[in-house]
């Protein structure tokens, strides 16, 4: 297991370097002269040339790449043209918000998707299964912005149970940061009112974000459970007198969890990259909004930064999924 972990981490580092190289290439083949863009429309050729030298854009491509990689390793992602602040500082502000939203959505997706997928498989073609299936199909089909607005109208405007948007009420001070995740920090600092406020804000956007993910986790888990429940070793476990509940919860679920885990990993990356609609509807200060507004302003450095962050999280999640795979399935450890 240890060598397996080392190998996976080595692959992870390699892929990250690959992603960094790829983003570098893309920004360089993208049309437009970055120096002129930075200098602005009224700049003279001399001014553009000065900026070109200042940014090292006159150097050969490999030298630029070396500088870029060096900067990356020291955490320097350049500055945003619009705000002139370092991209890394802005990411530090926006990434935790998105991460918190995605994590809550993921937890929701797993907590609902896995057990209901399991029940749906056990009671295949019964009433519960039919209801779950309708639910999961609509989960994939409902557009996020429409579903989000619907929830806002009902729970925030009509019932007034939950706030309409934002991450915290304006009157509430965020807790002193430890992890930068409000839910975690407020708990660690013992500020339970803040925790409650943060939770009530994250619920609606998390539900909207988790819905398609929940639906696909549910469907994969259901399909896998149905298949595993028909397999020979389940027949044998029944014949040996193992109780039905134990068969479903341990003998079958563990096997069915493997493809479900793969789906969870994929969906995590997908959610990170698709928060923008949900963030817009719920006015959530995350990287989705940041990336889109930067892209609209042709502000490339933040876009590259966001791409790298999403890519890195995606890879880390998938490495974790790989490790979990090996942890669950002994056959993979020796492979």
């Amino acid at each position: 297991m240890l060598t397996f972990t080392f190998r996976k981490v080595a692959v992870l580092v390699g892929t990250m370097l690959g992603l960094a190289a790829l983003t570098f290439l893309i920004t360089n083949v993208a049309p437009g002269d970055p120096a002129r863009l930075v200098a602005g429309p009224d700049a003279t050729n001399d001014m553009v040339e000065t900026i070109r030298q200042e940014y090292g854009l006159d150097r050969p491509l490999y030298a630029q790449f070396a500088i870029y990689m060096g900067d990356l390793l020291t955490g320097d992602l350049g500055r945003s043209i619009v705000s002139t602040r370092p991209v890394i500082d802005e990411l530090a502000r926006y990434v935790p918000a998105t991460l918190e939203l995605v994590l809550v959505a993921m937890v929701l997706g797993i907590l609902v998707g896995v057990p209901f997928g399991m029940l749906s498989a056990v009671y295949k073609d019964k009433f519960l299964d039919q209801v779950t299936r309708i639910f999961s199909i609509s989960g994939v089909a409902l557009p996020a912005f429409w579903f989000g607005i619907l929830l806002q109208l009902f729970f925030a405007v009509r019932l007034e149970w939950l706030p309409v948007s934002g991450r915290l009420p304006l009157t509430e001070l965020p807790p002193e940061p430890i992890t930068h995740l409000l839910l975690v920090d407020s708990l660690l600092r013992g500020q339970f009112d803040t925790f409650r406020a943060a939770l009530s804000h994250v619920i609606l956007p998390a539900i909207v974000l988790s819905f398609p993910c929940l639906a696909s986790i549910l469907r994969v888990n259901r399909a896998e459970m149905i298949e595993v429940l028909q397999s020979d070793h389940i027949v044998a476990a029944r014949a040996h007198g193992i109780s039905s509940s134990r068969i479903v919860m341990i003998y079958a679920l563990k096997n069915a969890l493997l493809p479900t885990l793969a789906m969870i990993g994929l969906r995590f990356g997908w959610m990170l990259g698709s928060t923008v609609l949900v963030e817009t509807v719920f006015d959530w200060p995350g990287i989705g909004l940041y990336a889109v507004s930067s892209a609209l302003a042709s502000d490339f450095k933040p876009v590259v930064g966001v791409t790298l962050v999403i890519g890195f999280f995606f890879m880390i999640t998938n490495t974790l999924v790989d490790l979990a795979y090996a942890w669950i399935d002994p056959r993979l450890r020796s492979a």
């Binding site: 020979d232 027949v235 044998a236 096997n255 002994p330």
Partner: protein, 327 residues
């Protein structure tokens, strides 16, 4: 003396998309305590469905049309799922064809064996003994099936063990509840020939030592002969001939049994071309009328198409269901 296992006019249907499969058509089998019965037949003749029905793990949608399976004075086909737990593994247990797929690939052997032992206590409503005692029992069970390296095996996953080893483990699991009746569903089919002999020898020894009652299912007449005192020959959901192994193997009366035995290669004497039974097993949605074997039978006449043959006695403990049985 009443039989330990009594299957009486048992009929089973399985509804499918294409129509109703009449998989078992009036099975009559009686087995005394301590006796061994081998069921032979081609693939698809219903022998596995029959074996699983005895264990209550037959196809979910199967429908019993008539008859009963009575074990130890209990009608098994009327048990609830909760009652079944007091039977499976404890009174009747089963060993399977392919030991690879019948063990859970993600759990260690120790875990699976331990779970089986624990489940038996729970099923009987007894408190399970201490964990160390149950672990010691795991070791004893493995020793019983002649596994020497017990500690390593208990920590292993199925894929780390050989086929013969896995089959020994499945046998150990089946014996964990000290059952009265052991059903062996093609226990040697998926194994190498040398391992087959070892497993058969092991089973033979266990059956003699523990006084087990055994129903063994196989299409391998040799394996059946090695383990069974009595033999039932199945064809297309019916038992066509039943009796002592000696009497059936030396003097088969049913044309199908004759065909089956003639299809075996004979290693003694001169090489002769093997005889095959013409045709294939019938479709069980629309089985042939009368005797289900008549379309392939060299002795068939008009009556075979019209009337299902009655089972009649043709010797001491030897019955046959055929209008034109051999003398």
């Amino acid at each position: 003396m009443t039989a330990l296992l009594n299957i009486d006019n048992y009929r089973l249907d399985i509804p499918t998309f294409d129509g109703v499969l009449k998989v078992l058509d009036g099975i009559d089998i009686a087995l005394e305590q301590g006796d061994t019965l081998g069921i032979v037949g081609e693939s698809g003749c219903g022998k596995t469905v029959l074996a699983r029905s005895i264990m209550g793990i037959g196809p979910r949608n199967a429908r019993r049309v008539s008859g009963h399976i009575v074990f130890d004075s209990t009608a098994l086909d009327e048990l609830s799922e909760a009652d079944w737990r007091r039977v499976r593994g404890v009174k009747i247990s089963m060993i399977f064809q392919d030991p690879m797929t019948y063990l859970n690939p993600l759990l260690t052997i120790g875990r699976q064996l331990f779970d089986v032992i624990t489940a038996h206590y729970r099923a009987q409503g007894k408190p399970a003994p201490a964990k160390t005692d149950r672990l010691a029992r795991c070791v004893r069970l493995l020793e019983q099936v002649q596994i020497a390296d017990t500690q390593r095996v208990l920590k292993s996953y199925p894929h780390q063990l050989s086929g013969g080893m896995r089959q020994r483990i499945l046998i150990a699991m089946a014996l964990a509840g000290e059952p009265k009746l052991l059903i062996a569903d093609e226990p040697t089919t998926a194994l190498d020939v040398t391992i087959q002999a070892e497993i058969l020898k092991l089973l033979r020894g266990l059956v003699d030592r523990l006084g087990l009652t055994v129903v063994m299912i196989s299409h391998d007449v040799g394996a059946i002969a090695a383990l069974s005192r009595r033999v039932a020959v199945m064809y297309a959901g019916t038992v066509v001939e039943q009796g002592t192994a000696k009497s059936i193997l030396t003097r088969p009366r049913h044309p199908y049994t004759r065909g089956l035995l003639a299809a075996l290669p004979d290693i003694e004497g001169d090489a002769q071309p093997l005889e095959a039974i013409p045709g294939t097993i019938p479709n069980l949605i629309n089985p042939p009328s009368g005797c289900r074997f008549h379309p392939r039978c060299p002795r068939a006449t008009a009556i075979c198409r019209q009337e299902k043959p009655e089972t009649r006695s043709v010797g001491a403990d030897h019955v046959v269901a055929c209008h034109h049985a051999f003398d």
